[in-house]
Amino acid sequence: MTFKTLLMGAVATAALAPAAFAERGSDGEVSIIYWQAPSILNPYLSGGTKDIESSSLVIEPLARYNEVGELTAWLAAEVPTVGNGGVSDDLTQITWKLKEGLLWSDGTPVTSADVKFTADYCMNPEGGCAQLAKFDGVENVETPDAQTIVVTFNQPKPNPYGPFVGGQSPIIQAAQFADCTGAKAPECTDANFGPIGTGPFVVDDFRPNDVIQMSANPNFRDPAKPAFAKLTFKGGGDAAAAGRSVLETGEFDYAWNLQLAPDVIARMESAGKGKAVAGFGPLVERLEMNLTNPSPDLPPETRATVAEPHPFLSDINVRKALSMAIDRPLLVEVGYGTAGKVTCDLVPAPAMFASGDQHCATQDIDGAKALLDEAGWTDSDGDGIRDKDGVKLSILYQTSTNAVRQDFQALIKQWWSEIGVETELRNLDASVFFGGDPGSPDTFQKFYADVEMYANTFDGTDPQQYLAAYRCGNEPKPSSQWQGENINRFCDPAYDALIDELGRTGDIEKRAEIAIKMNNMLTKDTFTIVPLVHRGRVSAHSNTLGGVKLNVWDSELWNVADWHRVN
């Protein structure tokens, strides 16, 4: 760990060295466009991404996630861990220390009282704090001295990095917000529209739902940063217009979250004014295999429940063959372009939790055929479809209505027909499919199909909750009104034991090891979940803007202090 940290420190110093010679404000003005316009600069009063990210230019947390999802000290001197004594051994207490000499943009010093005030501000029972989930389980916040903050939880927290971590939970100035607590919070327009912060920029003019004018913070902790003297943050429009304004016309330097088809982005990019960058969170497009029998002949009490195992998908060889027949690089190319990567993992990111295994990256039609032959699935009646003991490999494959998903369905159907598996496609309206209505037979939870395709992800950087979904008994079933996250009806006592172990483990490297083991049990060991594409988020920046590192774990503008002009 220390060696790795040292190495990374060295790399960071080397990378930052040239920028260090630059002068604050020497690069003029930078302009940013978000196609959703910010309406407030206080993330505690708004859950909107646009508001959280725009305010991250001004106010900052104690620690935040970097572009690979690793926790990095920001206003804190270092990230507290069990190893360095910052987190207590029973995982109920975390002790933060502020960096020395921090100043607010108005010149007053930042103290632990500001941090404690931030917690009280959000946890005020009268105020509706949008980020209360970040403070979940906090018993009290104490300040033994001006630099130290001790947060005590009411139960052991293997992941204690909720309060004051990430763009959703920045530190606000106690002096400015002192009269704005509780029910009065939304009334303090001046404070909410122009918070005093520690970040690289200060607000000059804020017009809600339109534009923000900012200039460099004279009291920013790094005297050489930010490189820009002025910043214009424009909101509104749509993704296509935002993309065009950066990639085709060059009016803006940075455009956020371009949800557009890959060929559309590629065509904008060909104008040569800028480039699209993709950032990868844990969003994975996958095939889910139904381990229970969805046959309509079964009574509704047992249809698609663990009482009835699937007639052929309960055979691991069939699941494996179906996975082997898929050409994932081609799917990425057809459907997502630069916004997608081949993955064989359920948890493809953050990097330390990903197995990185690429066993599925190459298509193997012949291997799949051989595997099915070996397992006894042969075409005994000559109709082109494999069967065994009177059971035909005939699959109902459902997904939500979406142009890319229907293309994927058509391609995968073709590949499966090459290995002798018959496929019937079905697409359902997304609001029905993901609607969760227990009365509808078409929800993804009910899974009245053999295979279904969708994408899922988790919040933050810790996959514990996400992996814990596949516990025995957590499957959707009639007695739970078809609610539950174990969509495949997977059940393995060894897996459940690992879930419990993960809940007890505080050491981050140990946690990663367990998470990878669990990921493998679901993917390459059993082919219960067949990942297809690791999907990313695409933003665009001008060719003249340097230092952009797209971050999907935190605010995209997290390192705006490092942005600079390149020629």
């Binding site: 088809a261 065509r267 058509a410 391609l411 073709q414 309206d429 509808s440």
Partner: protein, 328 residues
């Protein structure tokens, strides 16, 4: 005086008819062929129907087949052959005269297969709506006792929103229909059934109004006075006289059915996603409209021309079938 006497009886006898006898249908045709639009419309409809019926034998490409393996990357997004006329850098291929879509499926084969589905749905739903609408309209107009309840029922159905109704119908009936007729056959019956059952009301109202007026006329009174039964009066005297409004509703019904089917496909409650229809080809292509306009224009043009053709045909038929207009 001459002795050539004229036989008065012979003079009064017609040796032969002065003109060849004419059937009613010949009159109808004579009138119909004067309507240029109707001729073109009818001709186009016959052409498109034949094209989708025998097309698959002439153009033997599987509309669902994608190129093998990595060939997709070179075989997809091929432009139609005519694009080469003005853009010699365009990717064209004589093996795919109308190009391919974003995953390399032949567009001509898709248009033919899509036309089959759309025309079949359109015709079947139209015929069903027509039968129900005419029956309800005639019964309600002719039999006073049934009028009130049938018309209130018509109002009731008219107030049903079609899309939520469809979602419910799909939920309830997809499974049994799929089990009995297969995924495509079952869906065909379901879509035709639902469109037919929700679009007969206009026809019923129009027919009822006409029947109400007609049944008070003297020829109906005459027919009744010589003891003609109600059934015969309806078949012999009333229906032929309301054929023109029925024809007009039919043409509108066909157009509506084709368009409703495409809306259903778009919502994902229609046919399986790899089963092409004109509406679905169009909906799928909208995203890339700027780059590949042909994928929107070709199916859109076919839908428009078919609907227009049916409308003109209906117009011409109405003129030709109405004895009061005929011959003017």
């Amino acid at each position: 005086m001459t002795d050539q006497a004229i036989d008065p009886y012979a003079a009064l006898q017609d040796k032969e008819p002065p003109k060849a006898p004419r059937s009613q249908w010949k009159d109808v045709w004579d009138q119909f062929k004067h309507h240029k639009g109707a001729l073109f419309g009818g001709g186009f409809l016959v052409f498109i129907t034949l094209a989708v019926l025998i097309g698959p034998w002439l153009w033997q490409v599987d509309p669902q087949a994608t190129p093998k393996g990595r060939e997709i990357l070179t075989m997809r997004d091929i432009r139609p052959i005519y694009v080469a006329l003005w853009d010699n850098t365009a990717k064209v291929d004589w093996a795919h005269p109308l190009g391919t879509d974003q995953i390399g499926r032949d567009f001509l084969a898709n248009l033919i297969a899509g036309g089959r589905a759309s025309m079949a749905v359109g015709w079947a739903a139209m015929v069903l709506a027509l039968l129900i609408g005419t029956a309800v309209g005639v019964v309600s107009g002719y039999f006073k006792k049934a009028d009130f309840w049938l018309m209130r029922f018509t109002d009731l159905v008219l107030s049903l929103p079609i899309l939520p109704l469809l979602l419910v119908a799909v939920t309830l009936f997809r499974q049994p229909l799929r089990a009995n007729f297969g995924p495509e056959g079952g869906m065909f019956i379901l879509i035709v059934g639902v469109i037919g059952l929700t679009s007969w009301m206009q026809t019923a109202r129009i027919v009822r109004g006409d029947i109400l007026a007609l049944k008070e006329r003297e020829f109906i009174l005459a027919a009744r006075s010589i003891g003609t039964t109600s059934g015969s009066i309806i078949m012999r005297h009333l229906l032929p006289n309301v054929i023109s409004p029925i024809m007009v509703s039919a043409t509108l019904g066909l157009a509506t059915a084709i368009i409703t089917e495409s809306a259903l496909s778009f919502l994902g409650v229609g046919f399986p996603s790899d089963f092409p229809t004109w509406g679905k080809l169009l909906a799928d292509a909208v995203q890339r409209m700027e780059q590949y306009p042909e994928r929107v224009i070709l199916p859109g043009l076919l839908i428009s021309l078919t609907v227009l053709g049916v409308n003109y045909l209906g117009d011409g038929l109405r003129d030709a079938l109405d004895p009061r207009i005929r011959g003017r």
